[in-house]
Amino acid sequence: MQPEFSYVLQQLMSGFGVTCTIFFLTLVMALPLGLLIAFGSMSNFKPVKLITRAFVWVIRGTPLMLQVIVVFYGPGLWFDTPVSSRLTAVVVAFVINYACYFSEIYRGGIESIARGQYEAGAVLGMTKTQIFFRVILLQVVKRIIPPMSNEIITLVKDTSLARVITVAELIKEAQEIVNIYGILWPIFFTAVFYLIFVGILTLLFNFLEKKLSYFKA
């Protein structure tokens, strides 16, 4: 028996909802956490710097899929406290992973700002915090939009890794239909969702880039 198109669409929509949940939760938490990690990796206090950089190395040096598995099974295996929510495990792994990638982008951006900008702020009596938020930050934002948009677009598609611990995101839902009805097209059809999502993001990034094109940094 062939499933109705509307039925397939409904199933895929529910998967897409999970995909979006992973995406937005990761983004909202990884963006600030990444800044924190960036500060850690630039710290003048050697131990903090070394530990942060080692951590970033481990996270960037191992597959995200593996990290999802570790976060989900690890606590139960080693601390006797199984993780009850699969979605939480996915989000935690994603946040840590993406925060590390973001932190390197932030760091590159922050380090690319000329020393003269800090000095100009300092001689005008600004505090370090004021200099960072009122002088440096917007210039950094402008510079990191292209690499950030790349990373964020990758995040959209990485959400499909959640299915390794059977979280019912978009591809997982499509696979279920394929398994039950023996048809392939729903799995191909998922591409439409990703393309539309990424298309909207691309427009958004272009808009941001335009918004900040009034100055050169």
Partner: protein
């Protein structure tokens, strides 16, 4: 008593001595011009005055207040103490260092507004009347600051550019904004580090004219420059530096007209050749 007394300042970067026992004084209203070949330590000296570098030894005394006493133990001062002290000095950089995301007016008012806001008593977050009062005061102060900024921008001849961003200005215009920005905080001493070195030759004139125009009985300036003509015209006192020491000090007539040190003579004749 001199406005600024610099005594025994020395500074090493690694093993190279960049400043060696620098001593000089500046009177109120005086323009001190620092000349010297590349690498002689002029920038480093200005940076020490502006707390961008810490000297290894020596004292900096302004108006009787000891701002720096590098010999006396290496206690790290807290940020606020340093900020307060460094505001006695203003700095105009060779590379302008304007804030690219702010327009001309904002570049000049930004630090003023931040400082004025700090001097206000923070309102209690639960008392609406206090918050309203605070907002009102802020607005008044900002308006005052803007008036002051506009006067300064007018003074450097850029009143028709207040809404432009630094990327829309020429180098000479940028540097004039930087001068207005430094003046906005009314420093006791305004320092210029080669203000025209990053400019095309045809743009140096407008900046030098502005600096010359700032000369007045109550404005004290320290200017590092390679423009000898300008130096001679604007200076009340000239210091020639060589390899981290003050080789010669005097009035412009003395230093340019009748240099005593052979090093000064060699430097000046080379500078004349270039022109």
């Amino acid at each position: 008593m001199a406005l600024l007394e610099v005594k025994n300042i020395s500074k090493k970067f690694g093993s190279t001595s960049v400043l060696r026992d620098i001593n000089f004084e500046v009177e109120k209203g005086e323009v001190l011009v620092l000349i010297g070949s590349s690498g002689s330590g002029k920038t480093t000296l200005l940076r020490c005055l502006n707390f961008l570098e810490t000297p290894d030894t020596g004292t900096i005394v302004l108006n009787g207040e000891t701002l720096v006493n590098a010999g006396a133990g290496v206690k790290r001062e807290n940020e606020n103490a340093v900020r307060k002290k460094r505001l006695h000095f203003g700095m105009v950089f060779q590379s302008f260092n304007l804030f690219p995301q702010y327009n001309v007016l904002r570049n000049v008012t930004l630090a003023m507004n931040m400082l004025s806001k700090e001097s206000l008593k923070k309102p209690s977050p639960f008392k609406l009347s206090e918050i309203r009062e605070y907002r009102k005061k802020c607005a008044e102060i900002y308006a005052d600051n803007e008036k002051k900024a506009l006067a300064l921008i007018e003074r450097v001849g850029l009143i028709d550019k207040i809404n432009n961003y630094p990327c829309e200005l020429s180098g000479g215009q940028c540097q004039r904004v930087a001068i207005a920005r430094a003046l906005a905080l009314s420093p006791d001493i305004l320092c210029f580090d080669e203000p025209t070195s990053a400019l095309d030759p045809e743009l140096t004139g407008e900046v030098l004219r502005v600096i010359k125009g700032l000369k007045s009985s109550d404005r004290t300036m320290i200017v590092v420059t390679h423009e000898m003509e300008f130096a001679r015209g604007v200076a009340d006192k000239v210091i020639f530096m060589s390899d981290g020491i003050i080789e010669e000090t005097g009035t412009p007539e003395e230093v340019f007209g009748n240099p005593k040190s052979p090093k000064t003579r060699a430097f000046l004749s080379k500078a004349a050749e270039v022109v």
